[in-house]
Symmetry: C2
Subunit: 202 residues, 2 copies
């Protein structure tokens, strides 16, 4: 659009902004921009305000580094939750995924990434140090590593468990296996091998 001869500047600006979003190509960005032009002005204002507002008020919880709009997130604040277990995840969205199960009633720790030397991300660029500090002088007995089942996720998980074990803490990893409702035919070899290895008595 930017090289388009009959350019309407505010429109191509808006399209460019949408194009910057992950997974949004030129076509989709155009579609979204035209859509935004056609919504009532108050709604467009609300959209714009929600971006600025979210940016202004959202920060990381000082304990678990999850996203919150307070100093301490509502999960860490919740006195009914088990304080002896921490589930370590890569991303705040993973917390949402676990919470949706309604089966986990302990605490989280958000790393905000994984160790990835290829991308120049070392242990100090993610919230590992904060996890160790948090665990010292705490009642935490078990840390569940719930990084993604990728090479980097695995490596990060291994790295952290090596740091935690000397502290006498039980470190566990999410089970590997075939996804519920999945089709065996489409399961990859590695997943199937892991599912075999981890088979349970019925």
């Amino acid at each position: 659009m930017s090289t388009f001869k009959y350019n309407v500047v505010p429109l191509s600006n808006l399209i460019e902004q949408f194009e910057k979003l992950p997974g949004i190509g030129t076509k989709t960005a155009q579609r979204l921009a035209y859509y935004v032009l056609n919504i009532p002005e108050e709604e467009a204002k609300m959209f714009a305000d929600s971006i600025v507002e979210a940016h202004k008020s959202i920060r990381y919880c000082k304990y678990c580094w999850n996203i919150t709009d307070q100093e301490i997130c509502s999960i860490c604040k919740d006195s009914s939750r088990d304080k002896s277990m921490i589930c370590v995840v890569e991303d705040p969205r993973d917390v949402v995924a676990f919470e949706r199960t309604h089966e986990f009633n302990a605490l989280y720790h958000v790393l905000h990434g994984v160790i990835s030397p290829l991308n120049g991300i070392g242990p100090d660029q993610i919230y590992i140090k904060q996890l160790l500090e948090r665990i010292k002088n705490s009642e935490v007995k078990e840390v569940i590593m719930a990084t993604n089942p990728t090479v980097e996720g695995e490596a990060t998980s291994m790295y952290i468990s090596k740091l935690l074990k000397p502290l006498g803490i039980r470190v566990t990893r999410l089970a590997y296996g075939i996804p519920v409702g999945g089709d065996l035919e489409y399961a990859d070899e590695v997943t199937l091998t892991r599912a075999l290895e981890g088979r349970n008595e019925i």
Copy 2:
């Protein structure tokens, strides 16, 4: 997200805003919202501003009803363009598509929709009246109907051509046929039939 127990209000507001966009589901809205949270504050501000700015400054050209930020769009203003031909399209994006061909050097008229009784859109809800008024007392000799090849697009096209013919204006329709680079195997029957009917001597 809105029923999520540990709700972070500004974040779920932002997600909701993204969910309103066409073709954006909950998952994508979450991804976009988290992305927006992680960009620098100035960039988030720029994004928000581009929405408000586009809304404020963009209006319809008083001749062709295309999107512009001036009273008359730059295509209608361009003295080098052929004023005897008008290409009638449904949507401003169709203008962009034609302009990309660099083969059409006349004018456009944007209907902003099609006649669609099922959706309660009659001839008065789209810019047909404005097209007729524009053509009267003008040097227009040909109108190319370039609405989408859908049932509604066809019907709108027929409706408009019936109004234009008594004025002694040549009304044409885009050619139907197989898309260039397409695969015959995947062409539907109607398209193939039209391609046969419209076959040309080589």
